[in-house]
């Protein structure tokens, strides 16, 4: 048994994981239909993969955080938020330093993954910040 989370947190996380899996199926199906039916390539392979993974992950993390199920019993929103902020800064810093284009030839460029990952982790940082302040305000 996973002792990191209590029984309500595990129940919520199982439920949200199931939702996220369904979102993955739908996104893959829609992406496949768009690519094969309209012969549209909207992103480089790595960028496409990142978007398809990031969207259900963001759904899961957002709902889990706001239902108090993402952070374990011995973790804090502050520490987790700082860790995610550090990762976001690294990705954003590398993207800015590289000077690569976000869009090339009408599609998301290969190196746009750095910016997307930076935004991804920055969003998670903001969510942790909101939860941190709302929890501290409550006490």
């Amino acid at each position: 048994m996973n002792k990191k989370y209590d029984e309500r947190q595990r129940w919520i996380n199982y439920r949200l994981s199931h939702h996220a899996l369904i979102i993955v199926f739908v996104l893959l199906l829609v992406n496949g239909l768009v690519r094969s039916s309209f012969e549209v390539t909207w992103a480089a392979p790595m960028a496409e993969t990142f978007v398809l993974i990031a969207l259900p992950t963001l759904y899961y993390i957002t709902r889990s955080l706001f239902q108090g199920a993402y952070v374990g019993r011995r973790e804090t929103y502050g520490k987790n938020g700082l860790a995610f902020a550090f990762i976001a800064l690294i990705f954003l810093g590398v993207f800015i330093a590289s000077g690569d284009a976000f869009i090339a030839d009408g599609q998301l460029a290969q190196d746009s993954v750095l910016l997307l990952a930076g935004i991804f982790f920055a969003y998670i940082t903001v969510l942790h910040g909101v939860k941190y302040f709302s929890e501290n305000k409550r006490v």
Partner: protein, 69 residues
């Protein structure tokens, strides 16, 4: 599922916060809050832990008469 006002009443009577009770039974404060608000139906093991911590029986906290709904 209605609010568990009995549990809240006993906890307050024992001068415990949700965080105190959560720490004693090994769950998060949000879980205690969800049980008191009727948003989460706890397992029998957690019910027993809560009852032991508050020195009451399962009937005192979790038994519902038909007209309680």
């Amino acid at each position: 599922m209605g609010k568990n006002l009995k549990m809240k009443s006993v906890r307050v009577h024992k001068d415990m916060t949700q965080a105190d009770l959560a720490a004693r039974v090994g769950v998060t404060r949000q879980t205690i809050n969800a049980i008191e608000n009727g948003d989460y139906n706890p397992t029998i093991n957690l019910c027993i832990d809560i009852c032991r911590t508050l020195d009451v029986t399962l009937d005192d906290l979790f038994w519902k008469e038909e007209n309680d709904e």
